[in-house]
Symmetry: C2
Subunit: 421 residues, 2 copies
Amino acid sequence: MTDIDIKAYMAAVGTKARAAATAMSRAETGAKNAALLAMADALLADAATLKAENAKDLDAGRAKGLDAAMLDRLELTDARIAGMAEGLRQVAALPDPVGAITGLDYRPSGIQVGKMRVPIGVIGIIYESRPNVTADAAALCLKSGNATVLRGGSEAIHSNQAIAACIHQGLEAAGLPRDAVQVVGTTDRAAVGELIAMPEYVDVIVPRGGKGLIERISRDARVPVIKHLDGICHVYIDDRADLDKAVAIADNAKTHRYGVCNAMETLLVHEGVAAEVLPRLNAIYTDKGVELRGCERTQAILSNAIAATDADWDTEYLAPILAIRVVDDLDAAMDHIRAHSSAHTESIVTEDYTRARRFLREVDSSSVMVNASTRFADGFEYGLGAEIGISTDKLHARGPVGLEGLTTQKFIVLGDGHIRK
Amino acid sequence: MTDIDIKAYMAAVGTKARAAATAMSRAETGAKNAALLAMADALLADAATLKAENAKDLDAGRAKGLDAAMLDRLELTDARIAGMAEGLRQVAALPDPVGAITGLDYRPSGIQVGKMRVPIGVIGIIYESRPNVTADAAALCLKSGNATVLRGGSEAIHSNQAIAACIHQGLEAAGLPRDAVQVVGTTDRAAVGELIAMPEYVDVIVPRGGKGLIERISRDARVPVIKHLDGICHVYIDDRADLDKAVAIADNAKTHRYGVCNAMETLLVHEGVAAEVLPRLNAIYTDKGVELRGCERTQAILSNAIAATDADWDTEYLAPILAIRVVDDLDAAMDHIRAHSSAHTESIVTEDYTRARRFLREVDSSSVMVNASTRFADGFEYGLGAEIGISTDKLHARGPVGLEGLTTQKFIVLGDGHIRK
């Protein structure tokens, strides 16, 4: 397609999405749940087709020389198809946030004022190779009453279109508009440029993928973006910590999973307990093959730690590597966090009431914890049911973004002929 | 100053704001209130100085040929100074939203998860000639724990600096950092360009002024903007309306004040009651000098109505002019609103339960009303205490934006050594 064709194509997608959003905003909870369950059934019933379409993408990927990790992310197995179906059923089981009214207090003028939770409208999702995002993101947007335009990676186009066919079966079975979920049918990169620059059709963009993708989209978007860039998460072990808890948390936060955004990347230790706690942690980390990069005071205690450079404090390793810094006190720890954190998740380990209270109030991250592993920063663990991502932005949605983050609130006013004096 | 100087100057302003924001985020409620009350005292004590500085701006404005309306907005009288001081005292009396914790539910894992309300950080305010905005906006940002960078119009620079001096007296009296409120000291337009493009120093921009200013800032900003553009507000009189209420509301919504964003600009009337209600309203509007522009069906009833053009449905008159359209039913009214509303405020007049419920749910505006005048869309009327503006955006803050809209929430997690299994 030429650029003019792409523009016209995306405008048509946008027009259909806008119309579907109006219908979705008034869709009943029962219809939305029925659609989600029918989609789950369709995915399972069409598993053979899904795998056949996925095989085309895998063949093309191999021919293009995609690496093994990329091919693995791209592959749809029976287990992954069952996982998608289960995810849809879980979203169907969540409470519907749309239409909930809070407040409705009477004002001195006699009017009653409250807020009603309502869908945002049209949500654009831009993602890379994992085709399961197609079902997961569509489900959350649908349950929250939004229309969705999905733009997956070109390497997954056949898989995504096959999943979209199951989604459309579900929508139609429930009497909801097909256009409530649209998968962009062209792999042309210009389509992304259009999608993020159509504020008349798209209300918010949620990019999911690598940092490069998200930075590019944030820079060029003409509509709001809900995003998270880095997870440079910190654990601070205070000198008033229970060291058994500290060791368990610092172990779990680093080694439970390495490639996730809520893994600890930098450990801060109060100088008063460094000589005691660091050797205990060193034994665990060494056993698990974690490379340690420390400040000078860390190296004086742990001879196996290599010297950390300035860049280490600002790096999201997503790997079995840990930066360690010994600090003078709580204020020094919070100064380090202010300078180097990506505002995702930070945790203090302490039994001191005042220090815990200060850390909770003063650390400006999307999740702030006391005596808990950073690995808990997650929509399921927080009870949101599911998440479309973890926002490190400050406005609208911060931290794990579930159904509520995909809605907004409007004021409602009930009167009985009231006029303003 | 050269552009390079402006860049350096604004970066210095931003650095100081960021440091002050950290201090303000932990400032106690009592200190913030003491600062607000001391600012109010300083404004009253320095009234003579304020008027002398204001006179310089007025002289320069006259020399530049500013029109009478502009000069009026620019003038600081004793009554206006007293009004600013009273506004500061009212903000001091409002509850402090910062630090409030909601939730803290226990999760199956044993952690406790809640949300804490926290300041946004650094708020940039860009405004035109009214110098009172300097005090009003600074007060709301300060009470909500933010640092503020204010950039007023060049025509009010002396007035704004004099008000800033009073604000700084108040901050220092309460032991809070001077830099919590900074008034940009240069009238160079390049300073605005810098202010809206420094995401490392500024978290959100609130523009206050004409539509041209707001559109320009929204287009060029590299940080989020909380804004409202137009107030094209609608009242729909249903055929099941109590016509006495309908007449009172349509009168009040149009004629209570003309130049405000929550005034009705278009009246929609169900064809079943048009012949009865329009002549009654016509008598009132004619008496008050309101020009009527109607569709053909309106003109068939009101011979004095001139023909409305397509442009009328999309115009915010801010004047004694009203567009009137007769519609077939509720759906036609909501279609018109969807096509032409600025998503500010719409009201239905009806005694019909189902239609009222549909209108509340389906109309996608920042305020949606039943049997009440659109003039109620206001932070004071809604009980927010004060407002920094009315947002027609969908994300973060929608409708009147008070202290809560100037804050955000972070997740907090309390554990006792909990790790993720």
